[in-house]
């Protein structure tokens, strides 16, 4: 009975201590003669148990490798034996029960959420109200009266190429000799575009005497500059 109690108390010691000294402690207990000696040993083991857990936290683990050379340098041992640690049966049983519980929990969670869609939370972004939706092209208005653009423009005195800018029903038109009239849509300021085109390639500049004096037509690689003809 006392041996069982002694063994139990020794078994409660920190692992490192138990692995190293438990067999020897039991060996010494087996040498105890008389009940009084056995009781003293049990009491001593109990005090040692308290001391180990309360005062020796640094000794709970095995000696670090840094401590080994010091031990080896004493001349008695040049290597350190590390026995393979095997968990106790109770620890294995507890581990198995815990693993099973975790497995069941995860399985149930999967089954429970199988039919439902996972909807990740996304921040709600409210688009700013567009002033000009794509369906509604913004209508640019020319800042100058259309009469300011009206007139005949020629490249120069030597170049006979001319361009006529006319206003009909509050709409600006550009025409070349021998070509159809092109309706001009205002882009911004004094810049216009061909009615079917998306780029603003026609611009008027050099405002003087109540009229624009210069016309620039940019068609990719071709650039045409003309100046107002004064009649």
């Amino acid at each position: 009975m006392l041996r069982l109690l002694f063994r139990f108390v020794v078994g409660l010691h920190p692992l490192a201590f138990r692995r190293r000294f438990a067999p020897e402690m039991l060996s010494i207990f087996d040498h105890a003669t008389g009940k009084l000696a056995a009781i003293t040993f049990v009491a001593d083991a109990f005090i040692s148990l308290l001391r180990q857990w309360a005062l020796r936290p640094r000794f709970w683990s095995e000696p670090s490798p840094a401590e080994q050379p010091q031990m080896a340098s004493a001349g008695a041992r040049s290597f350190y034996i590390s026995e393979n640690y095997r968990p106790s049966g109770v620890a294995l049983l507890q581990g198995a029960a815990l693993s099973l519980a975790a497995f069941i929990t995860i399985t149930l969670a999967f089954i429970h959420t199988r039919g439902s869609k996972v909807q990740p939370w996304l921040p709600k972004i409210e688009a700013e109200k567009s002033e000009s939706p794509l369906s509604e092209q913004k209508v640019f208005r020319s800042t100058s009266p259309l009469e300011f653009y009206e007139g005949k423009y020629a490249a120069n005195t030597l170049n006979p190429a001319t361009a006529d800018v006319t206003v009909e029903k509050n709409q600006l038109f550009l025409s070349y000799p021998g070509s159809a009239k092109i309706a001009l849509s205002p882009c911004s300021g004094s810049t216009f575009k061909n009615g079917g085109s998306s780029s603003c390639q026609i611009s008027f500049s050099k405002f003087d005497q109540g009229k624009f004096q210069q016309l620039d037509i940019d068609q990719g690689s071709h650039h045409f500059t003309a100046f107002r003809l004064h009649e």
Partner: protein, 115 residues
């Protein structure tokens, strides 16, 4: 040689180091040797013994020699005092000697002066 952690030694550790100063011993033999040296006035239990042995081993004062072939009990492991342990023990003995000397001086009864 000795730091703040080692001085002074506890009675148990001091007696264990003294027991190991002569021979390599196993745990039970250390207990018997301590009991013999103190004429039975100081006895170590296995818990106290191995608690202090663990401390001594960690500090490099004692080494574990392991099992010895042909021993009566295969569970027994033998322990040896290292040179560091010997130095620590020597320092402790010197400290105690100084204390004893000082104590003797203080306890000396002054001789009465002749009139």
């Amino acid at each position: 040689m000795r730091d703040k952690q080692t001085a002074p030694l506890s009675p148990a550790l001091f007696h264990i180091l003294i027991a190991l100063a002569g021979h390599d011993l196993h745990g039970y033999a250390i207990m018997q040797e301590v009991s013999r040296l103190t004429e039975g006035e100081y006895t170590l239990g296995p818990g106290t013994l191995y608690d202090n042995l663990q401390k001594a081993i960690r500090r490099g004062w004692v080494v574990d020699l392991g099992h010895r072939a042909g021993d009566d009990d295969p569970r027994r492991r033998y322990y040896r005092l290292t040179s560091l342990g010997t130095s620590v023990l020597s320092a402790e003995v010197s400290r105690l000697e100084n204390m004893v000397r000082d104590a003797k001086v203080r306890l000396r009864i002054p001789k009465p002066r002749r009139a």
